[in-house]
Point group: C2
Chain length 392, copies 2
């Protein structure tokens, strides 16, 4: 068991119509001039953005808006947001949307509070010493960014996708109304469920430390998301299922499911990041497409955890050798992905990289992680390439 | 499913030798002059207090000390602490000990920050509008006060034991080193495990709302504490078991195991509070002595939850009627209490109230909860008396 820090200061306001409390919460955390940052037009079409600005108008809180955050949010828009904040003397950031708008807002916050080129933080060159306070009205359950310390930004030049983590980037508040996620396309809902499960699975498949209570929470979370993802496939407007998945999304990535271990494996995420940088695929689908190949490559080096996962999460029968049980667990997970229309390889994901592109992704991935990384099994560039090839 | 707020801003620093970071943490949260509040002499005998003051000396942080906090901490000492803080211009409270020292410190913090008589808050007459910032070095895993918003104080006059909850009373940091709990007497360890389980069970046995992920977390927590309480009975110095129980103690009472429900039942706690006020028994043992009688009185009105508890926590076989399964779950829980030398009735607890005292406790309990209370089953004064009688 490893020592750990657990720090989740975000005030979560969860339930129906909770977005009506946004002005009160901004005021509680000292905001007087807000940048409202959002992504696609859906928050406009649904009337959510209008309701938010009406609420701020009524409360006498000033604001400017910046739309256009895209999945794998781009650095260019971050720079634009930083300039806008400076020009308008913004002192609070409100993201309205999913992880894309929120991660973009976090990067804007780092840029305004620290000066210099904000990409430095994502390029491991500097450490942030602050961030504009920020809050979120969440409309997509997926990235867990609403309670996490992390954000991921893509630099358009060279399509470099990198993450940065800092306690300064933790939201002051997160407004989470499951009803706001009901209009998501099925594909995006499934991608979100995959991303949520992966945030806990990355922490679960380790060779470093373990804690029974953390495992029990992780396994319970995974079973819950698995069950409710299937419910949502048939009944996308099931409130309780939306709520289960939404709350799981926060708990899967706020640190709770990693307490006591070595920090997790994270190589499926790292491998997907290069894919996402090159192809702009949906993050969750990219993770699903890679995971099986990663799991088959590493499971023998992390057998007790893969066996535990098979038994306690996937409900595999406790029969046969540990390897057989572990493999049946991996197969059951892939079956689950297929059952919610997620891909289990790159072809199903809809991309067909050339051998040169696979080599390039492995190379970029190895550079991105500083040579080699992983806890279930340490992967070097050669291993990364082997997994990319196996995922074709 | 109910809407909920989830707010756990306490920075938890968990692991070996983490108390060495106390000065750094006090400084991070702005403390310059500290009241170190502790309970029994054990923190002096163990050398912990000396190490803490050495650390503050080395960091140049001023402090005064106040010992003497007792289980069911007394209002008199709280008043003394408030005067000491005012006299010495204390701006940060550091509790070193368990829930008694910490709850006493919270009350001191309310008193200093709000003025007037601090008992008003515990007597439901006023609402706190602030609290001195406070942190804790935890030496007993039990009350969960290190991450909760609650504190419990006993007024000596009439032995009135009351709780008060406010987000202002949440710790800025909690230093949790499982090694510091290794020297606890076995009885106190068992009391702590009971209290921890009860904090989650109070939230679990409800008729209002439910959330699958909350249930999965609650059940996993209960199984973990149950297993590790038995390990600690034989090996009180087992680090991993101490750590599992200590972290469970925080998670059981920080709100996590109640997300989505109606706030919980809490009648076992309320019934024990009157007992604790009258007899000064250990809180955990008091809860164990009452729970079985409470459970048998209410289970038919909360059958689905008692059945789920029997199957998923106590491992009872899924055979027979729901009532039979529920009853076997209650029996299994009482067997567990006995196995860690906890009482399952008042006689085993070592107290034998007269009929007049039972009537008095029921009357005080009913007044304390405003007439009637409970979620598994709403209890009035008559019901409370029946449970007290059954627990003899």
């Amino acid at each position: 068991m490893f020592d750990f820090k657990y720090y989740t200061p975000t005030k979560v306001i969860f339930g129906k119509n909770t977005e009506s409390r946004v002005a009160e919460l901004i005021r509680e955390f000292g905001g007087t001039k807000v940048l409202i940052h959002y992504g696609s037009g859906s928050v406009m079409r649904s009337g959510l953005l209008q309701r938010v600005t009406d609420t701020l108008d009524a409360a006498g809180i000033g604001y400017v808006t910046l739309g256009g955050a895209v999945p794998n949010p781009h650095l260019g828009l971050v720079y634009e947001g930083i300039e806008l904040c400076k020009k308008e003397n913004v002192d609070f950031l409100l993201a309205v949307g999913g992880g894309s708008a929120l991660d973009s807002a976090k990067a804007i916050g780092y840029g305004v509070a620290n000066g210099g080129d904000v990409w430095d933080f994502y390029d491991y060159k500097r450490t942030a010493e602050g961030c504009l306070p920020l809050g979120v009205i969440l409309t997509i359950a997926a990235t867990g960014s609403e309670m996490s310390d992390s954000s991921v930004i893509t630099k358009e030049e060279g399509l470099v996708k990198r993450g940065y983590s800092s306690d300064y980037g933790r939201c002051k508040f997160a407004i989470m109304n499951p009803e706001l996620t009901m209009t998501l396309p099925d594909y995006q809902t499934a991608c979100g469920c995959t991303d949520i499960m992966m945030h806990t699975m990355e922490r679960y498949f380790t060779n470093g430390g373990n804690m029974e209570i953390t495992d029990a929470i992780a396994e319970g979370l995974l079973r819950t998301v698995k069950k409710n993802a299937l419910i949502l496939k048939d009944n996308p407007k099931d409130y309780d299922a939306r709520a289960e998945v939404m709350w799981a999304g926060s708990l899967s990535h706020n640190g709770l499911t990693g307490c006591g271990n070595d920090g997790g494996d994270w190589m499926t995420h790292k491998l997907e990041h290069e894919l996402g940088g090159l192809y702009d695929v949906a993050h969750g689908a990219g993770l699903a497409a890679i995971w099986g190949s990663w799991a088959r490559y590493v499971y023998k080096d992390c057998l007790p955890r893969f066996k535990k996962f098979a038994l306690n999460v996937m409900g595999v029968a406790d029969q046969g050798s540990d390897e057989e049980i572990a493999l049946r667990g991996i197969e059951a997970m892939e079956d689950f992905y297929r059952s919610i229309n997620m891909p289990t390889n790159l072809r199903e994901l809809g991309v067909e990289p050339t051998e040169e592109e696979l080599v390039l992704m492995a190379k970029k991935c190895a550079i991105g992680v500083g040579g080699e990384k992983g806890s279930a099994k340490v992967l070097d560039e050669k291993a990364m390439l082997a997994i990319y090839r196996a995922s074709m």
